[in-house]
């Protein structure tokens, strides 16, 4: 096994990982950063984010308003010190990207343009047409190339975290092209591996989003926080689950049911707003959790449209006109045309809610720090509690930047202050044990189960028990099913025995990661007996601040279901109140 010594290991080279790497390279050029990613950085799923990144920009906006929108959007489960820091740093980070060359869309006067987004009181979403995440990712990747202290390990699949006496010490990774194992040792490890949407059957997420970082931390004893909060984006293309950005509605698109009726007015988001004149925080500019829940009710009432891909509602953008659609939303225009054959200039597009984002993740604090010293987590794989029970659209791209930078600073300081590993040979033994586990998987013959089969059962069970609406019976059944699948997954044979780019083996390891993450989602959904944000229980329909104004923490128990514990929410200045999405009108 190759042994690579670095000062900081970053796992994941998407928006968060790259931002962190650049921050360390700029402030601590003497520290060697090993940037490990299972894909080339440009393939990271940050590229699929469309709508934009939030940061106060206009004179009629304020940090206070961004704070309030985020906290109420998160149904008061956000840690408010984190939100305060976030809204304050957001504009500076977005300007920083501008200096690095991000091709933001512009206003007439040449300043960066901002657009309205769901749940936001003002226009504060910076955008680059409808490819904002793509441009942010490429800007960061290209900028990172000028720093020699960032050493990239592209297409290295991280397998497990190494730790000693409760401290993170590095990771073991598999080089895909050779099948060789690498032991990376470092005083600080930053997880930036993205979300885990692939645990669900219908998702906007790319194939790579299998919760690897979450599972690695969880296996090492670090809890996963608030895993019951899964965001369904209300406007996915049926069939593929491809995202149609919230920018569609920000620019004025409306949602109608089979009767052409703007049904959101029936779900506390009215009154109906005039076509082409959206009102902040109402109707189509309500938050994602409420819009996805409204779809569920419309479907139950039989008001949805039947399509070849199942029940849908329609997003009508025709009144925006061809020029605006092609200028501001060229990607989604092309996607709708290619994948469902609808030209949104001429016809309404069928859409339905689709799993988009995990509010939960590795339990982390304002510094990205986790309960394990030396381990940091940023981006979707982390739960730093910016997003609470429901993330507002366009806050997560900015989150990558703000907390990528902040965690990098903390990780760099920690790396400098620590001595090297006390016991290198113990770490080598631990790394060898990981390798032995993987080799064991390769040697297994005559499996009776398949990766695709178990994955399908996992996903459909999770959707059934931990979907948009949940109840005790459903979550309990899903918990049991997932425990069974954990058992059965040991009966999978890796048919591919090659050392070179073995995606069969990788698929099995990703499935194991997903099963761990899925169990936490189901168990936390089972434990939270209230309704808040994206977590809606049919048997506990009200928010219960008395008991559940708390973060859930899921701990691994070997051979048993996850154990759930609770952690207080940090409240600084906003006491839990009513989420009001009636716009300016009362």
């Amino acid at each position: 096994m190759e042994h690579i010594k670095a000062d900081v290991v970053i796992v994941g080279a998407g928006g968060a990982g790259l931002r962190a790497a650049i921050a360390i390279a700029e402030t601590h050029p003497e520290l060697e950063v090993a940037l490990i990613s299972k894909v080339y950085p440009m393939r990271s799923h940050t590229c699929a984010a469309e709508g934009g990144a939030a940061g106060v920009k206009r004179a009629d906006d304020s940090l206070e308003m961004h704070f309030n929108d985020t906290v109420s959007g998160g149904d008061w489960l956000c840690d408010q010190d984190v939100v305060e820091y976030f809204v304050e740093q957001a504009p500076r980070e977005l300007v920083q990207l501008e200096h690095w060359g991000c091709p933001w869309s512009r206003d007439d006067d040449g300043s960066v343009a901002v657009r309205p987004f769901g749940g936001m009181k003002k226009e504060r979403t910076w955008y680059a047409a409808d490819k904002s995440g793509f441009h942010i990712l490429h800007t960061l990747f290209q900028t990172s190339l000028q720093f020699p202290s960032i050493k990239r390990y592209d297409e290295f699949f991280a397998l497990d975290l190494l730790h000693e006496d409760g401290r993170a010490r590095g990771v073991v990774a598999l080089e895909m092209r050779s099948g060789r194992f690498f032991h990376f040792s470092a005083n600080s490890v930053i997880m930036a591996t993205g979300g885990a949407g692939k645990i669900f059957p219908f998702t906007t997420n790319g194939a790579i989003k299998t919760g690897d970082g979450m599972a690695m931390a969880y296996r090492a004893g670090v809890p996963l926080k608030d895993m019951e909060f899964v965001q369904y984006h209300p406007t996915g293309l049926p069939g593929t689950g491809i995202l149609l950005t919230e920018g569609c509605r920000g620019e004025g698109g409306v949602l109608v049911n089979k009767d052409g009726y703007r049904y959101l007015q029936d779900y506390d988001m009215g009154p109906e707003t005039p076509l082409g004149a959206p009102v902040f925080k109402s109707m189509e500019l309500g938050p994602r959790d409420r819009l996805s829940q409204a779809f569920w009710h419309e479907q139950k009432k039989g008001n949805t449209v039947e399509t070849a891909w199942g029940d849908c509602v329609l997003m009508d953008m025709r009144h925006l006109g061809e020029q605006k659609i092609l200028e501001r939303l060229p990607l989604v225009h092309e996607l709708a045309l290619s994948y469902v054959g609808v030209d949104m200039v001429k016809d309404p597009v069928p859409v339905r809610p689709v799993v988009h984002y995990m509010m939960g993740g590795i339990a982390s604090n304002i510094d990205g720090g986790t309960p394990m010293p030396g381990l940091y987590a940023i981006g979707e794989t982390a739960c730093g509690s910016l997003n609470g029970a429901n993330r507002l659209g366009s806050n997560s791209l900015t989150e990558l930047l703000v907390f990528g930078k902040r965690a990098a600073a903390a990780a760099a300081v920690f790396a400098v202050q620590q001595d090297g590993p006390d016991n290198d040979s113990a770490m080598t033994l631990q790394a060898e044990a990981v390798v032995a586990r993987i080799r064991g998987l390769l040697q297994q013959n005559e499996g009776v189960e398949s990766i695709a089969g178990i994955r399908r059962e996992m996903a459909s069970s999770l959707e059934a028990g931990a979907g948009i609406y949940r109840d005790e019976e459903g979550t309990e059944a899903t918990c049991k099913k997932l425990a069974e699948l954990q058992q059965r997954s040991s009966g999978i044979e890796v048919n591919d025995k090659s050392n070179v780019f073995n995606t069969d083996l990788q698929g099995l390891l990703e499935l194991q990661n997903m099963l761990d993450v899925a169990e936490c989602v189901a168990e936390a959904s089972n434990a939270r007996k209230e309704s808040r944000g994206a977590h809606q229980r049919m048997d506990y329909t009200e928010r219960d601040d008395e008991t559940y104004l708390k973060h859930s923490l899921a701990y691994r128990q070997v051979g048993d279901r996850p154990r759930i514990d609770w952690l207080d929410v940090t409240i600084t200045r906003s006491q839990p109140g009513v989420r009001d999405y009636s716009g300016d009108k009362k």
């Binding site: 080339y40 590229c47 699929a48 060359g101 091709p103 512009r106 007439d108 490819k131 090659s498 698929g507």
Partner: protein, 248 residues
């Protein structure tokens, strides 16, 4: 939804056991709205878990799934079964060494992207930390299309010059350099000139235009390279005549 049977002819190669690449046939029941990527995923899930290929987003933006489909460099997520005959041949991208099955070795192009200094270079003091550069829509439009490149590398697979001479910097990397040269915020054009005007740079391009034809994002690297030739010649004479260089 209607099902159509497609015969996929997929190139296989495992350097640990195959002396040369070979073709394997898979019969795939395709839904009418499927892309070729969906057919490959069907093979992976239902027929043969050993097939290796790259993919992720399935929405034409991550750039992972560039392959040869019936001889054309294409994104498999953007190439639809409805537009293809009943027999479809899928091969790894042309002009690259094969790593395994449909996966090619990208080291060379990754190095080339790096080589052209694709980042903002400033000679003047940077703007204040909290102040953005002003950039008119017109100034943005000058380079906007060149920012659309997803690095799928289909253009390298199509480029006859790169096929002949791997030292040629090639379409995507040259277009990327031009993107920064044209950005009103950048002052690094003269730094990049040495690389671009080198014998492996823009002058190697024989202007066949195949790169632009296959680009799934309509980036038009061929036009960018022609502009750079003009820029390079202008810059050369300006320096000869002692005139200050400027942004075109």
């Amino acid at each position: 939804m209607n099902i159509r049977q497609i015969e996929l002819e997929v190139m296989r190669y495992d350097p640990e056991k195959d002396e040369a690449p070979w073709f394997q046939q898979y019969s795939v029941p395709c839904q009418e709205d499927w892309a070729i990527l969906d057919a490959l995923n069907y093979v992976k899930d239902e027929l043969d878990t050993t097939l290796a290929y790259r993919w992720s987003c399935h929405m034409m933006v991550c750039g992972s799934c560039g392959m040869m489909i019936n001889g054309e460099p294409s994104l498999t997520c953007k190439t639809f079964v409805r537009d293809l005959p009943d027999k479809v041949r899928v091969e790894p991208l042309e002009n690259f060494p094969i790593e395994r099955d449909l996966v090619v070795v990208l080291d060379d192009v990754m190095q080339k992207l790096h080589q052209v200094q694709p980042y903002i270079v400033r000679k003047d003091a940077p703007p204040q930390e909290d102040k953005e550069f002003t950039q008119s829509r017109g100034a943005l439009m000058k380079f906007k299309q060149l920012t659309m490149c997803i690095n799928c590398m289909c253009c390298y697979a199509a480029c006859p010059q790169y096929g002949l001479d791997k030292n040629f910097i090639g379409p995507a990397a040259l277009a990327l350099a031009h993107r920064y040269n044209l950005d009103s915020r950048d002052q690094g054009k003269s730094d990049r000139l040495d690389i671009l005007a080198d014998h492996d740079g823009v002058w190697e391009c024989s202007f066949v235009g195949a790169c632009s034809e296959v680009c799934p994002k309509h980036v038009d690297p061929a036009a960018a390279i022609q502009q750079m030739k003009i820029d390079g010649a202008m810059e050369f004479w300006k320096q000869k005549l002692g005139m200050p260089g400027d942004k075109s």
